[in-house]
């Protein structure tokens, strides 16, 4: 039987506010335990929440970024349950009237096709604290620094049909929130995590299969792996005559498997009701319009512009718009050198290669966009040839000079285009290679094209790479002609 996979994602994005969603405590990462948990975060008797205006603005900006409806009124509810990392015994969230209504996200698939994934809604909520399981005399330790950190939970429709689509969707959300600056998107620090709902159904069946929810997956790769494992598990289970149970599962990266979270208790009953300590949040049109007017260009728009206006390939446009730092770097290079395609080639080729080798992000590049733009300009105006350009790039990376021009000058890499000088070098090479000259001249004319490479190489070597390769080629052909 052919199986179809159905995936929906609940993405939790930590908003990049200075202070918490309901208190004035800092959200900075990595502080000593409980030093950023104020009276409100601790849920001390008598404390009350007051909503952070930046959290509201960021949620609305996200909504606008996915063309979502922004309802005039949203309401906070309490989700009641007991857990060690949940100080008040309830999480303040939005169950019935979320701040962001239905919207959609465009994802790009491997073959450059795009697909629209519907977002059901996005709501604001507070994060919980952390349980530390090091042994404190058989006890766990609770750190509430993270309690009250603002989260935007983005709930998709079950529109994804493969792990690759799910990852593309997650990347698209990541790109949107980082473009908007509403989150740092740092998955390693937990700024973005997701719950993955996975089910399978026989191809052609319209009803959904029973889904499992894989909780708290925190990297693109784990999302892909978890789905792959889970799909296989569900198909095998059904094919062996079993049934998928609706349950919560955990992905274990070390064993590369999902497993059921042992639930000792019956299904929870969260007893949602409107939080009486908070009033309805009313957003007037003018406020929403103002936020709309300040939105930056978002990845999908950028990709279209790169493709249509700059003439980049769909692939290049996709890669270069995938993150805001990448797009900004590319656009800066393009601005300096005035050639979008050359800029794209260099950013994706030499620069990305180097960054990958050193495991750096583009923000940490040792070559600035200005420097790379100048270097590309020198390629474009043929001051240097491609080979020399790579040397210049390496030198810039290693800090051997401040600018391409300075390095070209210092290393004498300026391309030699003086025919007389090149001819002199050719003559010398010919004189020193009588055997090769004879072989060349005796060879079938069809094979000479390949054989000329030896001479080109020798001449380039003699010029220390500075000779114009096209010129060398042409002159050699003339001179070697039998």
């Amino acid at each position: 039987m052919q199986w179809e996979t159905v995936i929906g994602l609940e993405v939790h994005v930590q908003l990049a506010t200075q202070s918490k969603i309901f208190s004035g405590a800092s959200t900075a990462f990595g502080a000593a335990p409980n030093t950023q948990a104020c009276a409100v975060d601790l849920g001390l008797p008598g404390v009350l929440p007051v909503l952070n205006e930046s959290a509201v603005a960021m949620a609305v900006q996200f909504g606008l970024g996915i063309n979502a409806e922004i309802p005039e009124v949203s309401v906070f509810d309490r989700k009641n349950y007991f857990y060690a990392d949940l100080p008040k015994g309830y999480q303040t969230s939005q169950m019935y009237h979320p701040i962001v209504g239905p919207g959609e996200v465009e994802i790009v698939l491997g073959d450059d096709r795009t697909k629209r994934i519907r977002v059901h809604h996005a709501h604001l909520e507070e994060d919980a604290g952390k349980s530390l399981h090091e042994d404190y005399h058989g006890m766990s330790g609770i750190d509430l620094n993270r309690a009250g950190t603002p989260l935007l939970e983005i709930v998709s429709e079950p529109d994804m049909r493969s792990a690759a689509e799910a990852v593309a969707y997650l990347r698209a959300i990541h790109a949107i929130v980082t473009y908007l600056g509403v989150s740092d998107g740092n998955m390693a620090e937990g700024s973005m995590r997701c719950d993955v709902n996975v089910s399978v159904r026989p191809e052609g069946q319209s009803a959904f299969g029973t889904r499992a929810e894989i909780k708290n997956v925190n990297s693109f790769r784990f999302v892909e792996r978890a789905i792959a494992f889970e799909v296989e598990r569900q198909i095998e289970l059904i094919e062996d005559g079993g049934q998928v149970v609706q349950e919560t599962r955990l992905y274990d990266p070390e064993l590369d498997e999902t497993r059921s979270m042992r639930t000792k208790e019956e299904a929870n009953d969260y007893r949602y009701f409107p939080c009486p300590d908070l009033l309805p949040v009313v957003l007037d049109r003018a406020y929403v319009d103002h936020l709309r007017s300040t939105l930056p260009e978002l990845p999908a728009e950028k990709r279209a512009r790169f493709e249509n206006e700059l003439g980049l390939s769909a692939y290049d446009a996709g890669v270069l718009s995938s993150s805001r730092p990448m797009a900004e770097y590319f656009e800066a290079v393009k601005e300096v050198c005035g050639d979008a395609k050359l800029a794209a080639n260099w950013v994706q080729g030499e620069l990305s290669g180097q960054l990958n080798r050193e495991n750096l992000s583009i923000a940490d590049s040792l070559v600035t966009a200005q420097q790379l733009g100048e270097l590309v300009s020198r390629v474009k105006d043929e001051t240097i040839n491609g080979k020399a350009a790579k040397q210049v790039f390496a030198a810039l990376w290693n800090g051997e000079g401040d600018s391409a021009d300075a390095i070209i000058e210092a290393k004498g890499l300026k391309q030699v285009t003086d025919t007389g000088a090149i001819e002199a070098m050719i003559d010398e090479v010919i004189a020193e290679s009588p055997v090769q000259v004879a072989q060349y001249q005796d060879a079938d004319p069809d094979k000479r094209g390949k054989m000329i490479g030896y001479f080109v190489g020798q001449v380039m070597k003699a010029s220390r790479g500075t000779a114009n390769p096209q010129q060398v080629n042409a002159l050699l052909k003339q001179k070697l002609a039998p």
Partner: protein
């Protein structure tokens, strides 16, 4: 000194007749001698009080004294007080020394008042007799066999007994007005949102409101001015400006339109209480007010709606008492669930448990719409009753409670206890202000007249109450309690 009103004591301080320290020592002495019998205080903060009094006297010497400077008062033990136990009348918080001050406490301190200590109360403000306190019941100074009312029973009894000239209470379903009536003092529940709830341990967040309890409406006006006003730490506190509550006290009442809700004079109302209330209304007529019948048709739904909404909110509010960050923790918990279950079982008393169970049940799946949502819909109807009534009349009047203070132990059944709140509870659901003023006696037990006004009509309520107190002397009566010792 303890027979004087707060306003008179303020004048005495201002005139230099006595110092704040002398005043404070006087009341501390009375508490020391007399409170053993009525149990109105949970914690007496004598040293802090003396230090604050000395500071207030110093402020006065520097010429910086505000109107409340140096006046002693007491705080219901659910206002968080930094460095002082804040117990909420519960074993759960018996060991809880608050690390911060409630906004109301900060404001009173900033005004130069002197806190004598923390008053007894029904556990987590759940009760109408002060019998659910972990620290034992409070006795009514007018009759030691009677309850003082609740949940602010300690505050009311302490004022009535002359152990403090005034106290702060909270009112979720009548918890200021009913004990004020039972103890023969004046108690004001302000409009919801008028006084900050920050630092007031929550019972039912959408209903709770702090307010003054004192000897007279004038005293309440003085205190309300100090505690009212927007608090950026409480989202439900309103930004509206605070009027001078004393400015209108002496406005004449000629032309005042009084409505008598007929539902407040029906079955279950003690005839002597009714007689006292009707007599009070005759006083108003003599002051030039007109009286008309009014209907609040959804009155009989107030208790059922309240006993769905308040326990639901309470069940959630009290989840934070889990034995982890503060409060009672059981010995040697075997696992997390055991920690929660035993800490909470040991920490909470039976009425608190009853309301947590009730609220948890009505919010749970399958019951939410039938109970919680329905109660919130009825709540809107109840509010509308009042809004409609205030289109016709300026204020509403009726009894604060159906009977005078009942005997300790008389209402063992929770349901019959809940019915005590029949005239006060709708006011919290509607969010309007209400004041209870002494209006006579049934035997030796006081009875109260309740006056209700539209949202933010505190000035008018205080004016109406004050004019009554200019024309009557019920509020000046003192129990014989403690006289032989004073």
């Amino acid at each position: 000194m303890h027979d004087k009103t707060l306003t008179e004591l303020a004048a005495g301080l201002s005139a230099g007749d006595f110092s704040s320290r002398e005043l404070t020592d006087h009341f501390l002495g009375r508490i020391e001698r007399l409170d053993g019998e009525i149990n109105s205080f949970i914690t007496v903060t004598a040293e802090q009080a003396q230090a604050s009094a000395d500071a207030a006297d110093a402020t006065r010497r520097q010429g910086d004294a505000g109107p409340l400077n140096g006046l002693p008062l007491a705080l219901k033990d659910l206002f968080c007080t930094q460095g002082v136990r804040t117990s909420c009348g519960s074993r759960m918080l018996d060991n809880f020394v608050s690390p911060y001050d409630a906004t109301l406490v900060e404001r009173l301190a900033a005004a130069g008042t002197v806190s004598l200590g923390k008053t007894n109360m029904d556990e987590f403000a759940m009760g109408s007799s002060n019998e659910s306190s972990y620290y034992g019941p409070v006795k009514n100074p007018w009759d030691l066999a009677a309850v003082p009312g609740g949940s602010s029973g300690g505050s009311a009894a302490a004022v009535a007994a002359g152990l403090t000239p005034a106290a702060l209470g909270t009112d979720t379903g009548g918890s200021i007005r009913q004990p004020a009536a039972f103890c023969g003092i004046t108690g004001l529940k302000p409009t919801y949102g008028r006084v900050s709830r920050y630092g007031m341990v929550a019972y039912a967040s959408s209903l709770d409101q702090g307010g003054p309890m004192a000897r007279s409406a004038e005293d309440c006006a003085l205190l309300l001015g100090a505690i009212a006003g927007h608090d950026p730490r409480d989202s439900t506190s309103v930004t509206r400006g605070v009027p001078d509550y004393q400015a209108e006290l002496n406005a004449p009442l000629a032309g005042l339109r009084i409505g008598l809700p007929r539902e407040y004079f029906g079955e279950g109302l003690d005839p002597d209480v009714e007689a006292a209330v009707r007599e009070a209304i005759r006083v108003y007529e003599s002051l030039g007010a007109s009286v008309q019948d009014i209907s609040l048709p959804h009155t009989n739904l107030a208790i059922p709606a309240y006993y769905v909404i308040a326990p639901a909110e309470a069940s959630s509010n009290l989840s934070r008492f889990d034995g982890v960050r503060f409060g009672h923790r059981c010995e040697n918990p075997s696992d997390l669930i055991d920690l929660y279950k035993r800490s909470r079982a040991e920490g909470f008393g039976s009425e608190v448990k009853r309301r947590i169970l009730m609220g948890t049940h009505t919010l749970s799946e399958g019951f939410f719409d039938a109970y919680y949502k329905k109660a919130q819909q009825v709540r809107r109807l109840i509010r509308q009753d009042f809004l409609d009534a205030f289109d016709e009349v300026d204020v509403l009047m009726g009894p604060a409670a159906p009977t005078p203070a009942f005997d300790l132990g008389a209402n063992k059944d929770p349901l019959s206890m809940y019915l005590q709140d029949i005239y006060t509870i709708a006011i919290n659901l509607a969010g309007i202000p209400g004041i209870s003023v002494p209006a006579g006696f049934v035997g030796q037990r006081p009875t109260g007249l309740q006056i209700l006004g539209p949202h933010f009509a505190e000035s008018q309520l205080l004016n109406v109450a004050h004019q009554f107190q200019q024309a009557t002397d019920w509020h000046l009566k003192r129990p014989s309690f403690g006289e032989e010792n004073s």
